[in-house]
């Protein structure tokens, strides 16, 4: 662990993941040559994608649940899929996860406190009960909760927003450096959602924690993240600073996505209602040789269908689209 201060926080190199199913072994490329880097601590990086884009598969690969078929995930310079057991404990302390449904995170028959207690006992090596409670309380206080309000309660006694806060508190107990948050607010009502997002921003500022924020919601991505990668059918079509990409999208898919975003402003209605032809999501999008978006793209030509576009660096962003080749 000597190089952990100099190495990049998280690096994904050329990740491929294929799922096979069916009698004839139909192959389904969930992730296709994904590259992404979180340089250091204190960065919120969004992975934005619709259903079927592979964003949850990506989260699972980073957490070590799935192994990529090709490629490498490095956390602070270490390949996380070949960690020794002591390193594995270190990795699980440093990288925590938060999921979409807080009610699924906790066993409904167990008090949520037991999760907090176990985490502290097993990961931090505290043994004295009052010491453990004091520590848990300090963590809860840091995000506006009190141990006394939590201790005797079961998951169903909390609202979704409160329980998600507790899930976050649980992830903070090990003082992580990176939190993988997979759609952490999509089940919450608008009035709670923003509180959780503000909490992420606050944790980044106070403790220098990095987040990998996985979402389909570009408005929240804009609100909290520093960088964004747009995922489409397992490939990153565009990545770079959030401000650049969402304010001035270059990839045709990012453009369509942003144009299709409903906004809480009736003045934008006419633009939104400009007719769009509905097309079918086709299975062949996953198996096409070239650009996955080429079936729907209004700029696509034979080359797009045949050959995968390379990663092209334009200013601060990386874009995969033949439109920008040799420009």
């Amino acid at each position: 662990m000597d190089n952990k201060n100099t190495a990049q926080l998280l690096v994904l190199k050329n990740i491929n993941k294929v799922f096979r199913y069916g009698f004839f072994g139909f192959e389904f490329k969930a992730l296709d040559k994904v590259n992404l880097t979180i340089e250091h601590e204190g960065i919120i990086y969004t992975i934005a994608g619709e259903s079927g884009s592979g964003k949850t598969t990506l989260a699972r690969i980073i957490l070590g649940v799935h192994k990529p078929d090709e490629g490498l995930v490095e956390y602070k310079g270490k390949n996380i899929h070949s960690l020794k057991s002591s390193e594995a404990r270190w990795f699980r302390r440093e990288v925590q996860a938060i999921f979409q449904d807080p009610y699924a995170t906790f066993n409904p028959m167990k008090k949520v406190y037991s999760y907090l207690y176990e985490t502290v006992r097993s990961f931090l090596g505290f043994h004295d009960e009052s010491e453990i409670n004091e520590y848990i309380n300090s963590r809860l206080l840091s995000i506006g909760l009190k141990l006394d309000d939590v201790k005797e309660k079961y998951p169903h006694e909390f609202s979704g927003g409160e329980l998600q806060r507790i899930a976050i508190a649980k992830s903070l107990l090990t003082m992580p450096k990176l939190i993988i948050a997979d759609e952490p607010v999509s089940m919450l009502d608008a009035s709670f959602r923003i509180n959780i997002l503000n909490l992420f921003k606050d944790l980044k500022r106070r403790y220098n924690i990095s987040f990998l924020y996985i979402t389909h919601d570009l408005a929240t991505a804009y609100y909290i993240s520093d960088f964004i990668a747009i995922l489409y059918r397992g490939t990153i079509v565009e990545r770079g600073p959030t401000e650049d990409i969402l304010r001035n999208p270059l990839h045709p898919y990012t453009q369509i996505l942003l144009d299709s975003l409903p906004e809480p402003d009736p003045k934008k209605r006419d633009k939104y209602m400009k007719p769009l032809k509905l097309s079918e999501i086709e299975e062949k999008e996953f198996t096409v040789q070239g650009c996955k978006f080429s079936f729907r793209c209004s700029y696509s030509n034979e080359k797009c269908l045949q050959t995968r576009p390379p990663e092209i660096l334009i200013n601060n962003r990386v874009i995969s689209c033949w439109l920008y080749h040799y420009k």
Partner: protein
């Protein structure tokens, strides 16, 4: 001509649930009054558990245990000066006389309501035969036309529901709800769980169909952005009550009720990184809703009167109704 199509009068309903040998009543819809007009998209917005889906069920006359009606009427205006209270009809009568012909309903998560054992075309044929008296050949043409407009190929009429994706099934449900040209279409979260591009296509089609049929569409969604894109008027619901009703522009540009104001200011918007703040506290338990205004425990402007007195929905400005004691007083 009378442009009213549906008059909701003092409507209250909720769920009777048994818990630990006591019978609890969940007060999901409380004293709702709305007049809905011909040729409009009326949006009902509110957060989860506010009673918006229950309200829609009551409007459809779909009252099944544990849901009960406490009081009130849902009056369907058939012609000038003739009203029919849907809630006074027997279930069988509602089914025969009202559903599909006058009112159709797109339930929540409706992609799962298709019968898995019959083909897509048979879903359509049955409804068209029963309610429109259209026979096979003509019906087939109509089905293909509707599916085509929704971006579905004509080959899928022979498919079974499980062979289609969620987005495709959702489009089929919407086509079913509209093909009988009902006067009122009730849509409960019609595009939730769909990708934004598909969502946009479906909302555009709903808007287009509504303009063509000049009928009434009542859309329930928690997503205020969808209302901004589609609804002409919006009713904001909180804890079983309608707290504000007005035209879309008013709701988004000069909301009057504190709940609406706070809800809107909690929404992140593209291109705006300024700090947004949520609403403190949680919505009340509707078994024991708070006295007075139901929003008062979370309202930053709460005064003594709000705790004691339940505010009525009153017209604060022209065509802009709100239920808030502080505004009434002005």
């Amino acid at each position: 001509m009378n442009d009213e199509v549906l008059r909701i009068k003092n409507l209250s309903g909720g769920y009777l649930v048994k818990r630990d040998n006591t019978l609890d009543y969940i007060d999901a819809v409380n004293d709702v009054n709305i007049i809905i007009k011909r040729d409009e998209v009326f949006g009902i917005a509110g957060e989860s558990g506010c009673g918006k889906s229950t309200l829609l069920k009551l409007l459809y006359g779909y009252v099944k245990s544990p849901l009960i009606i406490k009081k009130g009427e849902v009056l369907l205006s058939e012609s000038t000066n003739y009203y029919l209270n849907i809630l006074s009809l027997k279930n069988e009568e509602v089914k025969k006389k009202i559903w599909w012909k006058y009112i159709s309903w797109i339930p929540q998560n409706s992609m799962n309501v298709l019968n898995p054992t019959i083909r897509i075309k048979d879903h359509f044929l049955e409804i068209l035969r029963m309610h429109m008296k259209i026979e096979r050949d003509e019906a087939h043409k109509l089905i293909v036309e509707y599916l085509g407009l929704l971006g579905l190929s004509k080959d899928i009429v022979n498919a079974f529901p499980h062979q289609l994706s969620g987005g495709m099934r959702q489009r089929i449900i919407i086509a079913l709800a509209l093909i009988t040209r009902p006067k009122i279409v009730l849509a409960d979260e019609p595009t939730t769980a769909l990708d934004v591009v598909v969502q946009r296509g479906i909302l555009q089609w709903l808007g287009y169909k509504q303009r063509e049929l000049k009928n009434t569409m009542i859309i329930v969604s928690h997503d205020l952005s969808i209302h901004a894109m589609l609804s002409k008027r919006i009713g904001i619901m909180y804890a079983g009550k309608i707290v504000e009703i007005s035209r879309s522009e008013n709701i988004f540009e000069k909301p009057l009720h504190p709940y609406t104001q706070l809800l809107l200011s909690s929404l992140p918007r593209l291109g705006d990184k300024s700090l947004r703040i949520g609403i403190t506290g949680s919505p009340p338990d509707l078994i024991r809703p708070p006295l007075g205004c139901r929003f008062h425990p979370r309202c930053p402007y709460c005064i003594e009167r709000c705790i004691i007195e339940e505010p009525d929905l009153t017209e604060a400005e022209k065509d802009h109704f709100i239920a808030c004691s502080r505004i009434e007083k002005r």
